[in-house]
Point group: C2
Chain length 310, copies 2
Amino acid sequence: MPSWNDGPAKQAILDFVKTTTDKTNPKFIAPEDRIATFDQDGTTWVEQPMYSQVLFALDRVGEMAPQHPEWKTKMPFKAIVTGDKEAMSKFSMKDIELVFATTSTGMTTEAFQTITQDWMAKAKHPKFDKPYPQMVYQPMLEVMKYLRDNGYRTYIVTGGGQGFVRSYAQTVYGIPPEQIVGSALDTKYQYNKEGQGVLLREPKLLLNNNNAGKAEDIYLFIGKRPHAAFGNTAGDQQMLEYTQAGGGANLEMLVLHDDVAREFAYGPATGLPDTKVGTFSQALYDEAKAKGWTVISMKNDWKQIFAWEK
Amino acid sequence: MPSWNDGPAKQAILDFVKTTTDKTNPKFIAPEDRIATFDQDGTTWVEQPMYSQVLFALDRVGEMAPQHPEWKTKMPFKAIVTGDKEAMSKFSMKDIELVFATTSTGMTTEAFQTITQDWMAKAKHPKFDKPYPQMVYQPMLEVMKYLRDNGYRTYIVTGGGQGFVRSYAQTVYGIPPEQIVGSALDTKYQYNKEGQGVLLREPKLLLNNNNAGKAEDIYLFIGKRPHAAFGNTAGDQQMLEYTQAGGGANLEMLVLHDDVAREFAYGPATGLPDTKVGTFSQALYDEAKAKGWTVISMKNDWKQIFAWEK
């Protein structure tokens, strides 16, 4: 793991893997039970200034606008097409749901994959001006690979959309579609005009994969408790708790965004002035301390954050 | 596959595997895309005279009855505890749901697993008087193994309960929990009295994994179309259609229960007098013929049905 500085975070990972793969160790974990789960946004790649999927939805509104002249005067679309950031910052949950439904449903799962892959191939991060696949944290790619090299199966367990993340996860993380657990829409089986079975994305949320939903969906998709879990916000709390409560050897890690120079700094636990609404709350930091979870300081534990940094 | 007679069904399987694992063949399938899905009841093991999970629920009512003296007079439980088969045959869907909710919810996922494993260890099939794990079709175990030996991942995609099937699938089929797609209840994240995160089984259906639900849930869990699918009833129709519509090499098979001497015979397509309400309907048989799906005749294609047969 060349992008990691020596320190307690790197050591916790090395110790965990050594313990759980040593057959003579009482905490040895059988290969079929070696499961590690990773939150995505803020844990494996950049989540500021907004989630990549929100940017995707906003860009889609722009692309679809020529076919929707009514959006020039109709909120919430008007705010997006006119670039009215103040109005956008006041969007209600209902506004956001309408934007997502308009841009991401009413098409087949295959059509959505094509759209998201096209977007991912050209979209750039507003601060770093790099393509999104390069917004991934190099140290986390190294942890994933290190775990896989030691017989672990790595899962993304994200509050983001399952279909969205699946469209690039194999390329970005080396993680196949069946190991992406995410918020998911209902789909509806239909026949296309050639009479072939396709699945239509419906504007109805089936799984909200945040908070308790993460533990619930880990059971639904995997049926076993993970032995290692990585997160960064209160939305990951239950995933880490559920992992630890499984007993045996276990590893819980939280990424702390305390590197304002190389990435972002946010959340009260940084001790820095809040630049963003932090979801890595003091309560989560306190729980981490009480339960022995390891906090990864981006500033201190990561030699390099992005592969393209020199 | 020693339990198979030579014939078109066995040949279809051999040809499919040969084609899809030969790198020089234009229909070669990359290892990561080698997915085969199997319905359970009636496809990989006996579903008559009633689903194993229904028997489980009825047995649970018997076990719980001493704590529920009110059941002596309260339907639908009264019918079960008094063995009133006529009344049981008239159960409404609401009655059945109440029985399932009473016997299978309000406990943690782990407690349910213990109960189902205990039942599976002692329950016997009413006709064959053999433990349930021996109700599996030996030829289907051989197909699963043959596919796995050739790089396929095998999934159970069942209308039965995911938690129920998971409790024995590793032992019976060699299939791990994360490859069991089934009808699923909502679970609720809670803390037990030690303050540890557990999941409570709720009396609310999250996924009805039958008919169109099978195609939808295959996408939800796997994110790819299978290349091979095995079923036996109209509940498997969409799974087979969805598999075939993916294009490339594909294999769709339906098990026809036409062996009244060794197992059961049911469904209009057998050409035999109906002994049971058949769900392998004439319409499905017609679709199979039109689309080139392979029908497996238990009578003609299977040399041996159960491992214990001599």
